[in-house]
Every structure is written in structure tokens, then in C-alpha cells.
Symmetry: C2
Subunit: 455 residues, 2 copies
């Protein structure tokens, strides 16, 4: 019988996270103060994050120890399986060998708990009683709810009202793990009350929800804030994915030519790709192509500019050197809510600028076609975010067929679609539409920026 899953035992869960900054030829530029535009140090983050996470955010060390307790919680679902996609290869009739790392086996169904757990752990270590966060469709909020429940930390999630009203199941999942979920804007914060006073019927936005969560953390000593992507320490935690995958590919007696992952803020991509990129960086040879896969409706990597910009919509965060569409950019309401972010994390942005990684964009209809093909061939229904990586993998496998060459392709199947069946219903009903942005639209968004240019 041909082996389909490459599994690892619990004692093979990596003992350290990998910090790619140590191996980067050009280090990321420093964040700037939003007011003074001067470089800021780690202290500026102290009101929002526990000190251990701030240290990880700026550490130059190549390896960071994973606490035993975190590894033991990881063992609830890790190591995750690496699959050889025999079904997909057959349907595509491709000479390519296709593998995927499956992160949907986690409690909340995606890769997000990989960072939610250590974030909750370090907060607990520093005596924090409450963690706040924002969530759109709910993937990040439910991962943090799960992690906080484990450490008996109160979890407050500000959920964009549109999602709160229309996608109640993620909210109930968070409640089941004991989290408090507020429709945002809420009456629990100054920011929320102000917006509600102006427009009581607003459906909210991720930008507003971030403002509410940050306000709660900034104004309460026992409360901190947590973010599910973009930041360096989040990417660091996610490298557990790629480190396992390296081991698993070695066990399969194979190594990818191409590594692919969906791209929202960058932690999904970083998680799988960085441990493979490490091989390129250490050897000085560009052997493995790493491709970030984004939606055409939010194409910061393929059509954005590299400059300083805010991480949030309101302009409260430090200025970060990133590929961006402009912090006021409002992406189309695609089902892949996790990819609807205007900018790219700092490390990934620098890597792209240095041409050490690649990026592609896929249309909304194309990714659902890919998702259904995958569900029928491999039996797992992917989350809308995950379909982007699948679409890139299919495109590369089709290239192999056209060129008559075999390459080994690995992608991050970052989550299941059990909470996204409405998206598939819309697809089957023909209600998923193409979202191509015109150059004028992108230029109009970028023209509004007055943040510092780079070079």
C-alpha cells in the first residue's frame, strides 16, 4: 500500500522556533513612531504585549526555545500530518509530486493556535488576567479563545458586527471555550461608543475592532492585546509548521522544489516557508522556490508598493516598512476573510524586496474551483483562505504537465472549511464573482498615503 500520510511522533515536535531574521542578508528596517516618525524601541510595545513576546519580536537569535508546557499543549494536535496528494495528482494527471501539510486538525481548525497558545502562555507567566483581540470571520478569535481557556485567562473578542450577526457559529465556538464575544463596535469601549453614537446601525470593520481591543489593553493594567498575524513573534511561532514539514519530507525521501502558502498578513506563509528558505539562505543557493499566494482583490505583494505604512486602518500603530495597498484600502468582501489585509508583515516584505521569495495572485472564482477540485480529490473541504494555496499548487502542477517535467510541490493546507459552507453554497449558486482591481483603483488608494517613503 502506497504511503499517504507522513506522520511524526510527539517527541519529534520541534523544541525551538526558527527566527529567519538571523539568516536574512538585509535585516528589516526599524518601525517608526506614528507621530515623530523616529525609530522606536521595544518599550513602545510594553502597554500591549508581555515582555517575553516583545523580546521575541526583536530578537536577533536564530533559535528560540519552545517552553515544555507549550509543546505539551501542541501535542493535542501536533505533529500535524503531511499528506502526499495522490488523489489530486491523479485528477490533474500531472507528473508533479504534490504534498500538503494539514493544519486543520487543530482544535479550532487552522494553524492559528500555533501562536495563540504561546501568546496565552507568556501572558499567563507575567500574571495577565485578560487578553483582548479582534476577529473578522472568527478563525483567530476562536484560536485565542481555546488558548486562553487552557490557561484560565479571560478572553475578550471584538468581532466585526457583520460577522457576529451573519456567522454565529464561530461566535458560539468561542463561547464554548469560555470567551466573551462582543459585536464591534460595542458599548464596552470609548472607541466603540463614539462610533455607535455616530451610526447606531454600522456593521463594523476590522479597523474598528482593533481599536476597541487595543483600547481595552492600553487602559487596563491586567489586560494585554494579542494579534494573530503580521508581527515577527507570530511568524516565529508558526515556524513549527515548516520545521515539522522539513522532517517529514526527509522521511518521505523527498524535498520540495516549490513551497506554497496562502498570504494574509504573512504568518501562514512564514510558518511553512521559512524553515525551507533557511536551506536556501544557509547554502547560498536558491534551490527551493517559495511562493506566497494572495487574492487578486487584495494584491499587496503583487501590485502594492514597499513603503512605511500603518498596521491598522485608523493609524494608531507604529509605522512598519511593508508592501501595502494603503492602510485605508478596503478589500472586496471575499469569503477568505483572513486574506483581507492591506499590508504584508515586515520580514516577508523585506524577503520579497530582496527577491528571495515570490508572490502570485488568484481570482476568487479560480480559488473556489480549486477548492472543490481538492475536496473531491482529497476528501477534505478547505477553508476559503486555504484554497489560494491550492490554486497555486494546481497552477504549478499544470505547468509541470505542459513542460513534461516532474517537480515536487508542497503547500500549506492551513484549515478546513467546516465553518465556511455558506461560501461553498454561494459558489455552487453562481454567486461568487471575480474581483479584478483596476490600476486606477490601486493608485487612488496609494495616493492617499502620506507615510514615509523608503529610498
Amino acid at each position: 500500500m502506497k504511503q499517504r500520510k507522513i506522520t511524526l511522533s510527539e517527541n519529534e515536535i520541534p523544541e525551538k522556533w526558527y527566527n529567519i531574521v538571523a539568516d536574512m542578508p538585509n535585516k528589516p528596517l526599524p518601525p517608526l513612531h506614528p507621530g515623530t516618525k523616529e525609530p522606536i524601541g521595544p518599550d513602545a510595545l510594553a502597554p500591549l504585549f508581555p515582555m517575553e513576546l516583545i523580546k521575541q519580536e526583536v530578537t536577533p537569535e536564530k533559535w528560540v526555545d519552545i517552553p515544555d508546557e507549550v509543546r505539551h499543549i501542541y501535542s493535542m494536535w501536533r505533529p500535524t500530518p503531511l499528506y502526499r496528494a495522490y488523489g489530486l495528482e491523479k485528477v490533474l494527471d500531472t507528473p508533479a509530486k504534490i504534498y500538503y501539510k494539514y493544519e486543520g486538525v487543530s482544535p479550532s481548525g487552522s494553524h492559528k493556535p500555533n501562536t495563540a497558545v504561546p501568546q496565552a502562555y507568556y501572558n499567563k507567566q507575567e500574571g495577565i488576567k485578560r487578553i483582548t483581540t479582534e476577529t473578522g470571520a472568527g478563525q483567530w478569535g476562536s484560536a485565542l479563545a481555546f488558548a486562553c481557556n487552557h490557561f484560565d485567562i479571560e478572553c475578550e473578542v471584538y468581532m466585526v458586527r457583520l460577522s457576529y450577526d451573519h456567522k454565529p457559529y464561530r461566535k458560539i465556538m468561542m463561547n464554548t471555550w469560555g470567551a466573551k464575544v462582543f459585536p464591534s463596535p460595542s458599548n464596552a469601549t470609548e472607541a466603540g461608543r463614539k462610533i455607535l453614537a455616530e451610526d447606531p446601525n454600522t456593521t463594523g470593520s476590522l479597523g474598528i475592532a482593533i481599536s476597541e481591543a487595543i483600547e481595552r489593553a492600553a487602559t487596563n493594567d491586567d489586560t494585554k492585546y494579542a494579534l494573530g498575524s503580521v508581527l515577527n513573534h507570530v511568524k516565529l511561532h508558526q515556524t513549527i509548521i515548516g520545521q515539522e514539514a522539513v522532517l517529514q519530507m526527509e522521511k518521505a525521501g523527498d524535498m520540495p522544489d516549490i513551497v506554497i502558502a496562502p498570504f494574509g498578513g504573512g504568518s501562514n506563509f512564514a510558518g511553512l516557508a521559512f524553515p525551507f528558505l533557511r536551506m536556501n539562505l544557509e547554502s547560498g543557493e536558491h534551490k527551493i522556490r517559495c511562493i506566497a499566494s494572495e487574492p487578486t482583490s487584495c494584491p499587496k505583494l503583487t501590485r502594492g508598493v514597499f513603503r512605511y505604512d500603518f498596521g491598522d486602518t485608523v493609524g494608531m500603530t507604529p509605522l512598519l516598512p511593508m508592501y501595502t495597498l494603503g492602510h485605508n484600502f478596503v478589500p472586496a468582501p471575499i469569503h477568505a476573510g483572513g486574506l483581507r489585509y492591506h499590508g504584508a508583515g515586515v520580514i516577508v516584505s523585506q524577503l520579497l524586496r530582496d527577491k528571495l521569495i515570490e508572490a502570485v495572485a488568484h481570482d476568487n472564482v479560480e480559488v473556489f474551483e480549486a477548492g472543490v477540485t481538492f475536496a473531491r480529490a482529497e476528501g477534505i473541504i478547505p477553508a476559503p483562505e486555504a484554497t489560494h494555496g491550492i490554486a497555486t499548487a494546481i497552477a504549478e502542477a499544470n505547468k509541470c504537465k505542459q513542460e513534461g517535467v516532474s517537480r515536487t510541490i508542497l503547500f500549506n493546507m492551513c484549515g478546513h472549511g467546516n465553518f465556511d459552507m455558506k461560501a461553498y453554497e454561494d459558489y455552487f449558486a453562481g454567486n461568487i464573482v471575480r474581483h479584478e482591481l483596476s490600476t486606477a483603483e490601486i493608485e487612488a488608494s496609494l495616493a492617499k498615503l502620506d507615510t514615509p517613503l523608503i529610498e
Copy 2:
């Protein structure tokens, strides 16, 4: 680090299913013709099932080979993990050691694909083009849709209209795997049209859906019918669960004193328990207690009678010797739809009658309490059916604490609750109510029976 998951490699997937009939001291009584009341042979089933499954239904052989192709499909999610429930043990503060076998990692999220896959396989082998079935909440229908898609067999699912309208996500899951889903009663069958003509607004029932699915199979040569529980061959296929669990308990250096599983028609329970019961039967010692866990609202094992009864509501199937509440019994509309069945499979009924297994019943509120305790302690939100096994495990662990003894408890965590969040919402809102049946209610249902008595 304490080991949490006991995993097996793909080459440890069992090569044979275990047929407990070979080891039973008293063999099951024969099924009777619904009209003549005479024993019937396997041929009577030929219009509905492929011959290989009929052979398995009546085989006296102890072991049945699992085809390589079926094992390869199993490898998409099998072997499933066996967990040591450290989190639950801690919350309960019990000296008991608690383990659970987790079947929620399958594509459709429960143990159902274990039998859906071989059923589709044998139908394919015999050239069948279409399989029909009924489904309530959708667990069985989605498992069969997944399996049929794999073999390129058309799948027609008759879904009780109430569920079709109120639980659309399982329906979309089936569509994603290419199945046709009809709200039942439908216009696709004589039975459906007749009922619709009488009451166009009926919400349907499982009994009606079975009639529709059977009619389609009986009246089309290229079409067969599939059932997700109750029958012997279904139980046979599910023994893959318990066989893996025996291996895993051995690897853990432990062996259960008590084995527990939820009980609907019996395949969930049979799947985990039979390979452990085998040890009792072969040794002649009653070392391992096997407990079936049912809802108090549908208590055929704990409060029903052992006599011949129909498998369906309408009275079309052969008469089976079973514990039953009467085929006209209508269980309360609890969320654990998979446990709302009036009778128990033939083999399990005989085992209970011979006191080789035990049964307990839990109230609806108690099981949701258990489900939330489990979700918070172990990080996996269980399906409402699965919460019944959890409730029994918690009760036994609490007994250990009261008695100051340590026992090893194993239960079947047969599925996740990702498609059942509405049930948890109802629970948190206080809308889950107790369902105690009075003796008069049960007697009234049984009084309607005119089926043959036993002894």
C-alpha cells in the same frame, strides 16, 4: 513530556474486520419475513444490497478481509489517534485513567466513513451506478457522499425536510462531494408524492426518507440502497475502530477496565467495543465492562423490550429480534439526531440479553454539561451524539473518585461538533430541556406492537 496521543502508522491499519458472531455463545435469531413471519434468507436482501455485503451480513467467519483499496482510502484519516485525556482527568480530579479514541478526524467528521467507504467499494465492484440513502441531521449522508464521490458513483440522499431547511451546512457539504440531496418527502418517488399530496407542508421524518430511498433502489436495476448503522455488515466495518484501539492500548502499556460508546443503532458501540469483548469471549472471563450509552429520551436498551420488530417506521423491512421501544415510537427532537432510533441492532441486542454488555441512559442536559466540560478540558468540541459517551465516562471516573480506586476508562469520541454549534447555542441559552419518559408513555408505545414475541 507526558505522551498524550498514541498513534499508529498506516501499515498498522488492520487487514481484517472482526465478526463477533463467530465468538457469541448464543447466535442471533433469524430475521422474519414481514408478511409470512417465516425466517428469510439472504436472497431477500438482493434488491437492496450488493451480494458481497449480503454475504458479510450473514457470514459466520470470524475475520473478513479488508480490500487493499479500502485500506488505502482509510489511510486518508486512519489510523485515528487514541488520546490520554489528561485535561479531563485533571478537571475531574479522578484517580481514573481516561482514554478516548477520536474518530472526528475523518473527512465528514465522524466514524461513519468507516462503513460508507467499503459499502461504496462493493457496490462499485458489482457495477452499481447509483446509491440511495436517507439522512436526518446529515452525518451519514455526508459520509456516503464522500465515499460515492471517491468511486464516481452517483449518490442520492433523502434528507428529512426539517433538517434540509434548518441545517443547510451538511447539505452543502454533501453537494461539495457531488451528491444530490432531496428534501424528503420529495417528488422523486411514489412514496414522496403520495405524502406531499396529502400534506404539502409536512416536515418529513426518517421513516418517510427511508421509504423514498428504498423505493428508488428497489425499482432501479443500477441502483442500490445503503444504511449507516443497525445491520451486521455495518457493525463489522466499524470494528476497525476497536482493533486499532486494542493495538494502541497495548502500546500505551495499559488495557481498559471499562469501554464506553454512544448508542443509536449500534455501529458506533460495536465499532469500539467488539474487539475488546473478543478478549472476554475468547478467555471466558468478563474482564472488560462494555457500556452502551443512550439518551433517556430514546431508551430502548435500558427500558425497551426484546422482541421482533420492524427496522423502519412504516413496517417494510424484515422483522428483526431486537431491543425496541416499538417501531412507531417517536423520540423527542434532541440534537443527538443519530441516537433517535427506536431499536437496537440484532447482534448488540443478543449480547445485552446475554448480559455480556451493559447499557446506561443520560439526560439531554447532563450530556451537554459533559460536552462543554470535555471541550474546555480537551479542546475538541464534541458532536451531540458523542457527548453521551463522555457523560458515561465522567460518571465512571467520578465513581472511581468516590471509591478511591483507579480504573482505566476508554470511550469512543465518535465525532466533532463543528456542524452542531446551534445545539451548543441552545444549551448556553438554557433552551435544552430534560426528556424523561414516563413508564406509561413507553407502555403505550409497546402496546401498539403486534409483532412476534420471543420465548
